[in-house]
Amino acid sequence: MFRRKAAAAVALALSAALLSSCWDKTELNELALVSMIGLDRDPESGIYTIRLQVINPTSGSTARGTPGGEQSPVYTYEANVRTLAEADLKFYHLIPRKLFLHHAKAVLISGRAARQGMRDFINFSELQPSARTSVPLFVVDGSIGEVMRTYTPLERTPAESLSSRIELLADYALQSGRDVEVRDVIERSERDEWIVLPMVAVTPKTGNLDSRDVDASIDANRNQLRLNGGAVIRNYRMVGRLDDNELVLYHLLNGDKGTFVRRVPFRNGHVTAVLLSRGTKRRLDWENGRPVVRIRLSLELSTLAMNEYHPRTLEDIRALEKAVSESITDELDAFLDKTRAKGWDLAGIRSLLGRKAPKLPNPDRAAADAKIRFEIKTLFTGMGNLSRLYEGSGGTS
């Protein structure tokens, strides 16, 4: 009996050692929490520059004068290396804590590295079990070094500021979407699809930039980061750019859901329409051996921002809905003509053919020949807080 009890006690005691994982223990105060990663490669010398923005744990959102209040909320470390694996080692010349990448909120890649191709970075990242690829990827317009050394107002870390902005832009401007993460770049590139990533740039700078002095300045348009257009990526390589207006159309085509605003021609003038995109559906048909892709878009229209006009009758509503549908169709047609002329397949026609007609002999040719028709359904659903606009003469429209 005693022997059995002793054996049980020994087994339990030994399993306790397994549970606590003595070799791989990590204490929070021994970790360097990386919040933003910056990737760059000099195309001439082939030297990689990796920058890590590490959260400073002693700086809280404390008032000035308290301990830690004057410290930088993040520190940017930089390593120049010949191979990516060296970066880890180089950083330990500078960082006294174990690097922890799980919590990274944003990955930035310089424009020149993106143009050259980012496959090597991505392969390296996917090889590391500790790195998540469900992190938004930004392409830097301008100097990545400067971006990595710029504070952002309101949010404690620039990474949080950027990731929060792309969410807001997706919800309220449709200038960003859900598919802007590293894993989306992998998936789209492997499927030979196109993807557009947000671009980030530095706004004009004044004053002493390397200190926290910028906090004291009231002008928040200066000395910070700005999201600026989109980088068109194909096969892990940046091939062009979209401006903010084209970004809306791209995300509309891509089936992203969000609100956006459009000025629409209507009855000899213009009206401002607030539109909510409810996603797209694609259908593939054939006409005389030529593929015809019908893209069905459903939009919800609100007069929330329509200070020019207010529909009163059912006819008014139908006319307004029709005007919106026609205007968006025109814009999308023009956008597709422009991008397809450059050889960009932003509507994903090639991939649709690959999925729906996998036995097609020459899918690239068919995709280029494909006709695209939009079927836009606009439904008036919401309005603001006025049932009739004020009609005094002191307006512009």
Binding site: L14, W23, D24, E126, P129, S134, R355, K356, P358
Partner: protein, 360 residues
Amino acid sequence: MISRGQFYFLTVNFMLGTTLFVTINNMIEEAGPDAWMMPLWAGLGGMLAALLWIALLRCAPGRSPVEIARDAWGPIAGLIVGILYLLVFCTIAAWVLRNLSDFMNVTIMPKTPPTIFHIMFLLVGAYAVAQGSETVGRMNAVITPFLFFPFWLSLALAAEEWKWERLEPAFRDPWAFFQYPSLLAFPFLEAFALTMFWPKVRPGAAGALVSGIASAAVSLSLVLFMVTGLLGPERAARINFPIYTIVQEVSIGRVLVIIHSVLTVTLITLIFVKLLVLLYAAFETIDRLFRPTVRWPHLLALAILISAGARTVYENPVQNRLLIDRYLLIYDGFYSVLIPALLLVTIWIRRSLAGRARKG
């Protein structure tokens, strides 16, 4: 005696054990978006094999395959077959342990020496096995809900990433399984180890075994379906542990980012169940062959043998994959199909001869 329900859960968990992270990416690489069909074919094959084992076991109620071999082929050939089975169970147990330590070393515990995982699992496993089949069966039945719900919940949390496009073009290669038949060996033919439990299960275990194999095949198919829809065949075919990656990429709101440890615990517990069954099978084989009066000395010897085997069974994951692809079907087919089939034939011939003698 263990109940039919306990035997059923033991069968399901045994099958899922290491399969959930060893072959998922291989299957998706072979069959692309249609990978979810492969386990269904393999499960069908596994059920046929199980019917063979059941036919054999029904010839001699209350006897395990090791004893049936001794009865049919005499003491010397029976001993050789018994020792072969002992070695097979030990090899697979070592294999399972090595898969486990590989997974742990690659994912969350890179610095812990693999032997620690092996020895700890073996010690705890040996303790459970020493208590007998009831302990193993009951323990497994108790933990099953704690594996089932967290596993499917953590996959369900990822459902936000679901895209039907990733499963297209569908039904292009439904026969892909037949180009990759090693899936039948691993895990379905390995279920032969469960026949060592047979004499300890209440009557009517055949249904539990066959439906257990069917349930495991359906679960695997569902897992593959979800992995393809959540990661896309391109990434899922390349990532070593796709299920882990899916859960790793899940974030609940902005705060709960690291929930994959939940999944890790589920997976290693499933592997523990597989190890338990194999260890029990090896232990029971020794018991039936030599009838020792003690339990612990040879159990410890088994633990030492298996932990040594775990270090040497293969050198690296690439070898692991080659072993599975090229040799496992032949290896598993030999002990789980050929030997049982020969035994069955011997028994039938003997019986018909005996019947004729009686008539004559």
